[in-house]
């Protein structure tokens, strides 16, 4: 892996260089330097031709500056264990430094969290959710497609949450994965882990603990499991998500929250 977390260095860099907005978290030079400078030059010249050849298009200048950054949570949320490569994953070691950079960069005024995830590692998911919750800048989340399992706390962690009318959220119990040895303490550990998820969700949304637990342990909804699938407005009905909406409504809400914060003099 070539990725190195360099958030502290990049933060300083972002603040000092205000003429060129940089993307969080990396501002580092490419790490893989070609050894032969002559060949490098030749490569650089051929790059434009290569783009036309490979993709049939030419590069257009990008004149676009956004004060909103977009965080996407896709596929499996990957935790301490690297998942086999057929999984599309969201890694917390990428996400957390990015959120830190969003917090630090004065150019960024709000963050949109777009979810289409099937769940994943409990601890990594909770870590991402807690980091989003801890952000001082306005955040809006939108569940597009699916926000299942550990996606639920991530969706509710934002200041305001949306769900697309066709999107679904599956609420089900945390169960043994077969990776752990079945000692008596294990069930207790699992129970406590589940409580952490329930606590986070109920603290950050309008759903009551009783309702959330009853959705989690509902029998007869899922064919091979206990739990509930909430489609669009159902998630709103139970108070889990604030509103059914589209991406434009989510961005409009985020802009309104930014203006509200500016009005209070809270934003830089």
């Amino acid at each position: 892996m070539y990725y190195k977390s360099d958030s502290f260095k990049s933060k300083n860099h972002l603040i000092q260089k205000d003429d060129t907005p940089l993307s969080p978290p990396g501002t580092k030079e490419p790490e893989l330097q070609p050894q032969n400078p002559v060949r490098r030059k030749a490569k650089a010249n051929s790059k434009k031709i290569e783009t036309i050849k490979e993709l049939g298009e030419t590069a257009l200048p990008v004149n676009f500056q956004s004060n909103i950054h977009c965080l996407t949570i896709v596929g499996q949320v990957e935790g301490h264990m690297i998942l086999p490569p057929q999984n599309k994953t969201t890694k917390y070691e990428h996400i957390i430094p990015q959120i830190v950079a969003v917090e630090q960069n004065p150019e960024i005024e709000g963050m949109l969290v777009v979810l289409n995830t099937v769940g994943g590692d409990v601890e990594a998911g909770l870590a991402i959710a807690e980091t989003i919750r801890g952000l001082s800048k306005p955040t809006v989340s939108i569940v597009m497609g699916g926000g299942h399992s550990i996606g639920t706390p991530i969706a509710v962690a934002a200041n305001y949450s949306f769900i697309a009318p066709t999107a679904t959220m599956t609420i089900h119990p945390i169960r043994l994965t077969g990776l752990v040895i079945g000692v008596p303490a294990t069930m207790d550990y699992l129970e406590r882990m589940q409580d952490r998820v329930i606590q986070f969700v109920t603290e950050n949304s309008n759903i009551s603990e009783h309702d959330f637990r009853s959705l989690m342990f509902k029998v007869g909804e899922l064919s091979q499991d206990i739990g509930t699938v909430l489609v669009g407005k159902d998630a709103v009905k139970y108070g889990l998500i604030d509103q059914v909406g589209t991406i434009s409504q989510a961005i409009a809400k985020l802009k309104a929250l930014i203006d509200e914060k500016k009005g209070q003099g809270g934003l830089h």
């Binding site: 892996m1 070539y2 990725y3 907005p21 940089l22 993307s23 969080p24 978290p25 580092k28 490419p30 790490e31 893989l32 060949r39 490098r40 490569k43 650089a44 290569e50 783009t51 490979e54 993709l55 298009e57 030419t58 590069a59 990008v62 676009f64 956004s66 909103i68 950054h69 977009c70 965080l71 499996q76 935790g79 301490h80 264990m81 086999p84 490569p85 057929q86 999984n87 990428h94 990015q98 950079a101 963050m111 099937v118 769940g119 994943g120 590692d121 409990v122 998911g125 699916g146 299942h148 399992s149 550990i150 599956t170 945390i174 994965t177 077969g178 990776l179 752990v180 882990m193 998820v197």
Partner: protein, 72 residues
Amino acid sequence: MMDIIYTTYPLDMVLEEKDKKEQFNFKNINYQGIDMQVEPLGWNKFRVIRLYSTDPKDYLNNDLQPGSIISL
């Protein structure tokens, strides 16, 4: 320490180890200040698979569209 995977996906699908031949060979690099996942294609030639950036601007950059070939 144990990992608990909380997902709607069947666990055997998540943890299935495919044949070595089928495995993707993706690398994570930082190019022009943007973290991204690339597929090495040969000496100093990479195909962009996905960007990890949160800046919407980066996704409008034609040179970095998924499928583009970059050289460092």
